[in-house]
Amino acid sequence: MADKIVLEIPRYSPERDVKPHFEEFEVPVHKEWVVLDALNYIKDQVDGSLTYRWSCRMGICGSCGMMVDGEPKLSCATFLSSYSRNGNKLRVEPLRYFPIIRDLVTELSDFLVKLKAVKPWLIRQEEPPLSEGEFLQTPEQLEQYKQYSMCINCTLCYAACPVVGLDPVFVGPAAIALAQRYNQDSRDQGAGDRMAVLAHPEGIWGCTFVGECTRVCPKHVDPAGAIQQYKLKAALDWVKSFVTPLGRKNTDVRREAAND
């Protein structure tokens, strides 16, 4: 194993640059160092102006996503030593398809708008008083949506999804998976509301099932699967709307309520 590695990092500051240019930094490689440790080494020892986000360093806060050797990764969970053979150069870039604020920092407000748009909260028609205790939910019912509740909003899936890059209005993998998280929750009655938002050319129908979102997800959420299952449900809802005289949206809510 080499004891040094060169990091190639695009530098961009709107005050100085029209577009990013690469800079190289030589950093030591320690067995237990992750890419983030190398960035911290540069910031502390070499160039204090290197700009990136990080916080928990244990793969749960979702701040430190970057393109590492062309792949979306959490830099706190990617060992430096796995790259030290690649000619001793490693490219670390901001997450793809996002506007860049500076260096490795991407612009996330659009993502947050999309997250909110899918109504990611428990929707109930009536709210019994707290004194009635918890909504019962068996471990099996919990299992139905647990996987989709694991998303840490790291946006790696957006950086993996070409549709996000090509079509900026596409709602995107994490947000749709989050909608499914609530749709599949036995306590929720808002699937109809969310369907109205997501059964849309810029919602689920925009997805072409590239499947990359699922491959890069560090928490195994499987947004691609969530979206296809959503499409299937939307198609079945459409068929049902012919069978039942009631409107699509209403049948949906009523069925969910009946399940409760």
Binding site: P14, A117, P162, V169, H200, G211, Q229
Partner: protein, 145 residues
């Protein structure tokens, strides 16, 4: 539904203090060449073209059948031409690629649950292959009988 942010104009405005100017990388037209997974995806999608090509060939063959034994023989002869064989050889590769990717992705699109647990993907994918084998055998039998 979602606000589309207009890309910056061609002439870049100068930086003004306290007004961040984002750099927006453009997605190359050849984005799908840069990464093996993307290329695989595009090949998967392109497979549909070869599906369509074969459907057209099938329809032409049916028309030839309708038109009588001579027309059918002429069509058979065309199928033996190098160009037809080349097209169909490539088609076979893509069609098989379609079948395999389709079967392997099917379990992801369908969450089948049994006693609260989601069935492992292999249990959903495997029957697809079994059905495929049976149907293929059935068609072959019917045609060759």
């Amino acid at each position: 539904m979602f606000a589309v942010k207009q890309p910056t104009t061609k002439v870049l405005p100068l930086y003004q203090e306290f007004h961040p100017r984002w750099y927006r990388p453009r997605v190359s037209v050849y984005w799908w060449l840069g990464q093996w997974q993307y290329l695989k995806f595009i090949l998967r999608e392109i497979s549909s073209v070869f599906v369509a090509v074969f459907v057209v060939i099938t329809l032409l063959q049916l028309r030839a059948l309708r038109a009588g034994p001579e027309a059918y023989a002429r069509f058979q002869h065309w199928l033996q031409s190098p160009i037809a064989l080349a097209i169909n050889g490539i088609s076979l590769f893509f069609v098989l690629f379609h079948t395999i990717t389709w079967f392997n992705l099917a379990p992801r699109a369908m969450a089948v649950r049994f006693r609260g647990k989601r069935l492992p993907e292999i249990l959903i994918a495997a029957p697809n292959y079994v059905v495929w084998a049976l149907v293929s055998a059935g068609v072959t039998w019917l045609v060759l009988r």
